[in-house]
């Protein structure tokens, strides 16, 4: 690359980086107010929460390119030996801060790293928090800051007609570990669903597109509960989840998803591997 081009690219890059950070931020919308004390009270009452104690780890992108599709991963390291009870994801400054709560069942697995990943909308610069409840009922929190905005009002569907035609299509995929005897396996569930949050205004009709989103997802392995997830519209269009589960005899996964219209979508993994 010629030197002149390089320096031009670099100077543009800086300007664009600054621009991209603010690209979708509405002028006055960044809430300086710390919402967490209220959210904590609403969600966990007066229960004690241990912070940054290493029992739960949260991974977020270093630079967010699309605020309507932000990948988040929560890990519970192998050093945590016991069962896990619940996991709550909160984005403080989202219109509905609660992203999802997972209540784990007997098939959630122990004896290895457990993890959960999904993709979320970020409406405004905000902390995202993962709160883990361990077997003894104690709460453990980690948080990261998300420098992104506008993900809720943004129209995410790039091809709405194709998505509508495919609505309800579900893929349930298992990732067979290198060592089949591993006690914790990974899987993925993806479903074609607009997860409309009711915040996209269509100026053709002067109306907001009505909210319709995945409210509940139940995952079972060989008939036993892995987790039940209660979700909100903070989860991106075409909801996508990766998670771990405890190895069973058949390792057959069943998924039942219910949206806010009461529509039920069902999916099942293939009997062998992915």
């Amino acid at each position: 690359m010629p030197t002149a081009f390089k320096s031009l690219a670099r100077s543009c890059g800086l300007a664009a980086l600054a621009a991209s950070m603010f690209v979708f931020a509405s002028p006055s919308a960044y809430a300086e107010e710390d919402m967490w004390p209220i959210l904590k009270e609403q969600t966990f009452g007066d229960r004690a929460i241990s912070e940054e104690d290493g029992l739960v780890v949260l991974e977020t992108p270093s630079k967010i390119e699309d605020a309507a599709l932000v990948p988040l991963t929560v890990r519970v390291p192998p050093s945590v030996k016991g069962k896990i009870k619940s996991l709550t994801l909160i984005i403080d400054n989202n219109p509905d801060p609660k992203v999802a709560t997972l209540n784990f069942g007997p098939a959630a697995g122990t004896g290895g790293e457990r993890s959960f990943s999904t993709r979320v909308r970020v409406d405004n610069f905000s902390h995202v928090r993962a709160i883990l409840e361990t077997e003894d009922g104690s709460l453990h929190m980690t948080k990261k800051f998300l420098a992104a905005a506008g993900g809720c009002a943004a129209m995410q569907a790039k091809d709405p007609d194709a998505d509508t035609a495919d609505m309800g299509k579900m893929i349930v995929r298992k990732f067979t570990p290198a060592l089949e005897s591993s006690p914790v396996w990974a899987a993925q569930v993806m479903v074609k669903h607009p997860n409309h949050n009711g915040m996209q205004l269509d100026i053709n009709t002067a109306e907001f597109i009505p909210a319709q989103f995945v409210k509940e997802m139940k995952v079972t392995r060989d008939g036993e509960l892995v987790f039940k997830l209660d979700g909100t519209f903070s989860i991106s269009t075409n909801p996508n989840f990766r998670f771990t589960f405890g190895r069973g005899d058949e390792n057959s996964l069943d998924v039942v998803i219910t949206d806010t219209d009461g529509t039920v979508f069902e999916g099942q993994s293939q009997p062998k591997g992915s």
Partner: protein, 317 residues
């Protein structure tokens, strides 16, 4: 004309979002000289935008804008990224001809191609676009207005509003400019879900909009699969010249398409490989398509977003 609501209703909404003026009272911002345009074929004029992201310095002048002059009328093809730039484009047209501006055509929904539309309202033209343009732009209007106001700054953004199409193109359609016709062909989802190819049949000039990027890294806001398939089709066309949405004023087929095909193929190949290996979206954004890094301007600004879009599409294969 088929606006579902009176103009005042739409204007009210847009005004509420971004502006405090009605079209009648709209302050026409002070603008510099007429836009710099080049006659690339008889009666075909092109302005070349900069290879940059919108900023107060470039005032949104980052995409190509064109017009075609017939014996009876003028058609504008894309209007650049603000009211002021639209006005400067209009001045450039008026420096060439006094014939009525009958059509304002948008090749797709992106703000750097449509935000100058407002400057042509005074000509009462037919605003023309792909039949899905109205929905695509309508549902993004709020976001586009907010983002562009922020990037351009209040001064450069002054007077800018969204103008939706009044003629929706669902089938190949010709527009008569007097002694020359334009052929409008709506495409399947590719760069966006509302890409329109415009051909000036007299000079066999193809206006490809953002189906063709050159120098400026392509941006995926539709379907990488659809786009690659369409590029194969486009490569079979014969044209005297093509006008990219971002790139030099004119290029030639099929060579013009090759870098873009290579870029999109690199992303698709790498992303498919990673999906097959069970890798995540976050992992893919760190490596996929980086072999193309030195081949494009603005790679750092758009590439990771492109990989994100490609991954979210290809994981459904």
């Amino acid at each position: 004309m088929c606006t579902p609501y009176p103009i005042s209703r739409k204007t009210f909404l847009t005004a509420g979002l971004a502006l405090a003026a009605t079209p009648l009272l709209r302050y026409v911002p002070a603008h510099a000289a007429a836009m710099d345009v080049t006659e690339v074929a008889p009666g075909v004029f092109v302005h070349q935008g900069r290879y940059e992201v919108q900023s107060p310095d470039n005032r949104g002048d980052i995409s190509n804008a064109s017009f075609v002059v017939g014996s009876e009328a003028v058609a504008v093809i894309d209007t650049s990224g603000s009211a002021a730039l639209g006005q400067e484009l209009r001045d450039a047209i008026r420096a060439v001809t006094n014939k009525p501006i009958k059509y304002v055509i948008n090749t797709h929904m992106h703000p750097d191609h449509v935000l100058g539309n407002v400057a042509f309202k005074q000509d009462a033209p037919t605003f023309v676009g792909h039949y899905k343009l109205s929905r695509a732009l309508g549902t993004r209007a709020n976001t586009y207005i907010t983002a562009n106001k922020q990037m351009l700054g209040d001064a450069a953004f002054e007077g800018t509003e969204i103008v939706l199409p009044t003629l929706a193109i669902k089938e190949p359609t010709t527009l008569d400019l007097g002694d020359r016709t334009l052929l409008l062909e709506p495409q399947g989802t590719a760069h966006t879900d509302n890409d329109l190819i415009v051909t000036d049949t007299k000079t066999n000039t193809l206006f490809l909009g953002d189906l063709l990027f050159s120098v400026h890294v392509p941006t995926i806001d539709g379907s990488i699969r659809g786009w690659l398939a369409l590029l194969d089709e486009m490569g079979k066309r014969k044209a005297a010249r093509v006008i990219p949405g971002h790139g030099p004023k004119t290029m030639e087929l099929p060579e013009a398409l090759e870098p873009e095909q290579r870029y999109l193929s690199a992303i698709a190949g790498d992303v498919r490989q990673q999906i097959m290996e069970g890798r995540t979206l976050a992992e893919a954004t760190r490596t996929a398509g980086f072999s193309e890094k030195d081949a494009w301007k603005l790679f750092d600004q758009y590439h990771v977003r492109n990989v994100t879009a490609a991954f979210a599409e290809l994981e459904w294969e």
